[in-house]
Amino acid sequence: MKSPKTDDDLTQVRPSGTIGGMVRPMIATIKQALVTLPVVNKLVPGGRKPVTHLYPYQKVELPSAFRGQHSIDWFKCIGCELCAKVCPNECIYFEFHEIEPESAWLHPSRAMLDEMKKVVRRPAVDIGHCLFCGNCMEYCPTDAWNFTQEFEHADYAREDLYYRSEELRMPAENSDKEIILINRMGEHPICEVDVCIGCRRCERECPTRCIDMPDGPNDRKGKPIVVPEFDYTKCIGCQQCVDVCPVDCLYMEEIGYKDMSGFYHINKQGEVKLLEEQTEEGIARAAK
């Protein structure tokens, strides 16, 4: 049937009671029914598939980047707490695990280098508070943080939504155990040499061991104070050294961009300089 468009169409009496008035809508209905019937739709031209997914039995294919349950690769995690720092909801907290020496979990962490330490830090998540924004995965310097496709987290009690670190551990066979340290924060620490007291805390805390402590300026008694020197190619920008510093002599600064010739650095005046130049100037200033 045509839809009324002109005035003549509207004034016309609609055929009802005739064969055309009854049969035509009937044909339309039957046609529609045949097109959508489960079995017949394959035989009829223009047949359509059912759109409903039978969810509990037949699951929809999710995109590969879907962020569901967290899973952390314990071989790669170095316990730097960077994920807890970038988390907008502060739902990540860390648990301490005391383990045997020569355990596989110790491998990348600083505990391996400190023979006295037998404790590793691994993240745990409150799933009931998590935004699933993926910041933790994005900023993880060792790619230890992953997300699985699982989304069925619904539960009967609030306290069961706190997932312990061992429950989020990735199975060992899924891990490729290759660690590449990348500074995804785009920041690295700068030391104010005059303020530093040479307590070596940052050296002890650094998860990647990028801090070396050579002799710096002399103190009042004429003895040299040890001052941290950073290897910025290894630094991951985790701010551990800034957090532990007792006199606040360290602060974070942005890195410009990476080039073939090495790291570039933007100072507070907005000048882009090579890191070597910056450090040389700093040393010269300190000598004066």
């Binding site: 509990p56 699933f132 619904a154 069961d160 939504l161 429950e167």
Partner: protein, 221 residues
Amino acid sequence: MIQRAEQSNIVGLRSKDFLKWVDENIDAPLKRGPGGKMLKKMKEGLVGEFFNWAKRNSTWPLHFGIMCCAIEMAATSDPRYDIERFGVIYRSSPRQCDVLLLNGPISLKLRPVVRRLYEQMADPKWVIAMGECTICGGPYYDSYSVVKGSYTFVPTDIFIPGCPVRPEALIDGFLKLNAKIKAERTGWIRTKKGRTVSAREGELMNLEEGEYTYEVPQDRR
């Protein structure tokens, strides 16, 4: 004006009071009679099973959207994830509902309204907290005007984390509510981690203290 003497004869309109009245005045005399045992069996076995089946296959939620999770709630009832397959039909009046589906951060201004909606619903009733905003405040956990979780003022039965919750996850939440209603007879149900909690509605809440109790009921295996 109702006289005071007359007041005492009026049965309370709350369904729990009515059930208590039925137990005292109709059930108890019948039980004392000869067919008491048979009546008990009928009520708990056949009729109870039937009512349980009817309850768990018609969990009608309230059509009450607070924030962005309401879009997912709408998507769940579309033909792609047809939630009416499980008897979930959205109703606009709390009088016709069994489930209070909360989706979004509950501000301090909205809290009394939600509480009133919960009170207006007829027993038995359940509450589903959908999305992290309802569970614990979500990204607004620091805000001065957002309630830190629906469980602080209504007894919440199902918590569905996600931001936002996928439509399938909401269906999964309703299926878990079905499982909870089915387990009402035994009174105990296992969580995803394998812990045993009470399956009776509002059992985990102590509303008189005004706080969600973290005490776990005794394990009975």
